[in-house]
């Protein structure tokens, strides 16, 4: 198949799987009101995310009730789903008017703003493309691990059983290979890749997994944009600032600028795309959109918005446990901050404080009842429960998996980052302006004095969302022991970028607002102040771009990976894999072999086939004792304990870097050397 035909198929499959189901679902839900409730950018962004989640749930459902996951199934269920949604859109009467409701006028952009958005998007995608050009070749370890499961689904047509073979020590220094469950992988991370492969037949070790992740990354930036657009469309901003400068559209554009071209390459952006960090990327797409729908549900008293927020949250929990876990904490913090601000606000201005507080909470509860106790929400919870119990429960819902995330930090990498490390994780500029934005957000609702505002809890919600989101991730990253969590701190820090970006947009725009309103003084002119501002502003921008340029690689990693692919293909074609026979095990080294995690895709025998000699430090980790066979069998193949390991685990082939680990096999008469490339060798045990 030529690359052009491949690309046509690939783009068609993206539209079919990641746009159509969600678009028609939104159309069926909001019907004629869709174009009145959502701007075209919002329709694109929400359609993409809901398509992702819908496709996952459809495939899990049909896979679990016994259908084979193949091309006919996908080509049937997606059009049928879209058609059903279209029929609802066409023939069901329009939505009843929601009561009561705030004005839901669509945000509009002037020509300059429209062109700015296009330029920012162009610049963002350009920088990311420049980086990915040399990083798109499938070399990332994580991506290799994930693609094994996606390929397994595509090849077997079944939902995978997340197990892997492990070497375990039995009695008297004997070993055996036994199958163990894996809690780290979640089905939602793998189905979309299986779907695209099933439809297009493009191999997994190609560009398509990274391009799917790239599209998720681009849409997650738009998710930030639309969240910013809606969250700042609030009366507290309108009444307190110069609307010409500080308005939702400007804030959304600055958000896009801070989230897009600045630090476009650093984690969790393009580096996560090429690195195959699927869960984080999906988390960064779904978390802002869940907050977007929840906020709009409350603001517009729209239960269907809540339904979509809950639907995406469910999708998040079926895709990535870390993101789901963090999302729960974010919601918890938002709730706390909201209550603190709510009480503070009422106490600040109320004459009869207790009475007023009670009245305000009653109003809030009445509004919540209005959107929660609706048929669609009740149906959602019943459906979700039935799906969880009867159809499919994520693998991480096991006591052992939960125990690994909760408790005192078990490693130094989980004990929290320093402020310096946190600054680099978020980005200096975003952190600085983010903090300014947070202060403004927290103070402004309290300082507003009119009666109408005092009774409107909605004024506090944007502040509660952003302050809660930021403070949650700050504490989870810097002081995880306060929350009794045991998660890798640097991974959690990657989630902190987004809330700092949104609040940073407010901070930056407020700074511009202050500069614009400065007057000439007797000792310094306005022009000088402008110049100082431009100088100060340009420094962090350059630091962002400097970060981008530092991340650009000079490429050519692919040639080493091709050697690994060549070797794997050679060995896989020479080994006879037969369901009824015991296949000899293979062992490879992870320390010196490039792209070794992709080897398993050539054998497709087990997640742990070939076995791997992991990083040396892992064998010395006192907090997590592990089997030593994989280390001994490569590092000291002539030793008695290694011989026992070879015998017990039936390991026959060893793949090593010739110059590093070749000598110990060359001097051992028990091994043949059956293959040699420029850097790799395969040794076979007699």
């Amino acid at each position: 198949m030529s690359i052009i035909s491949e690309l046509l198929l690939f783009f068609s499959s993206l539209v079919l799987l990641l746009l159509i189901p969600g678009y028609f679902l939104i159309l069926a839900i909001f019907r004629k009101k869709t174009s009145k409730l959502f701007t075209p950018i919002e329709i694109l962004t929400t359609s993409f995310a809901t398509s992702f989640v819908t496709f996952n749930f459809l495939l899990i459902f049909f896979g679990k009730i016994g259908f084979e996951i193949n091309r006919p199934l996908i080509l049937s269920i997606i059009p049928l789903f879209a058609l059903s949604c279209y029929l609802i859109f066409k023939f069901k009467k329009n939505l009843p008017r929601e009561t009561p409701t705030e004005s839901t006028a669509l945000p509009k952009f002037n020509h300059l703003q429209g062109i700015l958005i296009i330029l920012i998007l162009f610049l963002t995608i350009f920088i990311k493309t420049a980086y990915l050009k040399d990083a798109i070749f499938p070399t990332a370890t994580d991506l290799g691990h994930h693609m094994y499961w996606s390929k397994l689904i595509a090849e077997t047509g079944q939902l995978p059983d997340y197990h892997k073979n492990e070497i375990v020590e039995t009695t008297n220094s004997h070993y055996q290979v036994q199958s163990e469950p894996i809690a780290d992988f979640i089905i939602g991370e793998h189905l979309i890749f299986s779907g695209v492969n099933i439809l297009t037949k493009i191999p997994f070790n190609s560009y398509f997994p990274a391009l799917i992740l790239f599209s998720i990354n681009i849409i997650s930036l738009l998710a930030m944009f639309i969240l910013s657009l809606r969250i700042f469309d609030n009366s507290f901003l309108k009444n307190n600032f110069d609307k010409k400068i500080i308005n939702p559209t400007n804030l959304a554009i600055i958000t896009l600028f801070l989230a897009g071209p600045l630090y476009a390459v650093a984690s969790p952006q393009s580096k996560f795309v090429s690195g195959g960090v699927i869960g984080n990327l999906v988390g960064n797409l779904l978390i802002p959109l869940c907050l977007y729908f929840f906020y709009r549900a409350l603001k517009e008293k729209n239960a269907w918005m809540l339904f979509l927020g809950l639907f995406l949250s469910a999708g998040l929990f079926y895709t990535h446990h870390l993101s789901g876990f963090i999302f729960l904490f974010i919601l918890f913090f938002i709730l706390i901050i909201f209550n603190l601000l709510f009480i503070a606000k009422v106490s600040f201005y109320g004459v009869n404080k207790l009475n007023q507080l009670t009245l305000n909470y009653k109003k809030l509860l009445a509004d919540l009842r209005l959107i929660f106790f609706r048929p669609q929400i009740i149906a959602f919870f019943v459906g979700a429960l039935l799906f969880l119990v009867l159809i499919y429960a994520p693998t991480y819902l096991s006591p052992s998996a939960t125990a690994t995330a909760v408790g005192a930090p078990s490693k130094s990498t989980r004990a929290g980052l320093t402020l310096e490390q946190f600054k680099y994780a978020v980005g200096e500029m975003r952190l600085t302006f983010g903090l300014i934005g947070i202060i403004i957000l927290a103070l402004v609702p309290l300082l507003k004095k009119n009666i109408q505002s005092r009774d409107n809890y909605l004024d506090i919600i944007p502040a509660a969302i952003l302050v809660g989101w930021v403070s949650c991730l700050f504490i989870m990253t810097n002081q995880p022991d306060w929350l009794h969590i045991n998660l890798p701190s640097d991974r959690v820090a990657n989630y902190a970028n987004f809330p700092f970006v949104i609040s940073g947009a407010l901070g930056l725009l407020y700074f511009i607002y202050l500069i614009k309103h400065l007057k000439n003084t007797f000792f310094i002119s306005k022009t000088i102040i402008y110049l100082i501002f431009i100088l100060v502003f340009s420094m962090p921008i350059f630091s962002g771009y400097y970060d981008n340029s530092q991340s650009l690689s000079d490429g050519q990693k692919s040639q080493k990976s091709l050697q690994t692919f060549h070797l794997s293909k050679f060995l896989a074609t020479h080994l006879e894999f037969n369901a009824n026979s015991n296949v000899a095990n293979v062992l490879k080294d992870h320390n010196y072999i490039s792209t070794d995690s992709w080897m398993k895709l050539f054998f497709m025998q087990d997640y742990n086939y070939p076995f791997s000699r992991g990083f040396f430090k892992r064998y010395e980790d006192p907090t997590k004792p592990r089997e030593m066979c994989t280390l001994w069998m490569i590092s000291e193949p002539s030793s008695q304990r290694a011989k026992q390991c070879f015998l017990d685990t039936q390991t026959k082939y060893v793949i090593v870097d010739t110059s590093v680990d070749g000598p110990q096999f060359k001097t051992n008469p028990d091994f043949f050397k059956i293959y040699e490339s420029d850097s790799l060798s395969i040794f076979s045990k007699k």
Partner: protein, 119 residues
Amino acid sequence: MFNQKFILISLTAIVLVSFSFLAISENKQHLIKDGWFLYFNNIEGDSLDFTIENYSNTSDFTWETSVDGKSLNKQYIKVLKGKQKDVRINELPEIKGRQIKITVYKSKEIKEIYKNFDK
């Protein structure tokens, strides 16, 4: 007011160009540009037939068989870039209890594969 559909149209165009460029670029990287490979055709059993696969610009190779370190046979072979050649080893002395090694030379590069046979 700016028609937001222009933003979507522009975004679609940018994404199409970027994705196509990346796909074509990645596709080109699947070509092995240098190096060569040496391997037995049959990884089990007694057969010593082997293959040289060449991706380098030099096509001149020399292969040599040796038994327990003693050279038996040395021959020149030409393998063009992007091609592979199978070499059949028919005549060998008693192999039981010995190591039979195939050494291939290309300029200053040497690769070797071998089998150790039981008595």
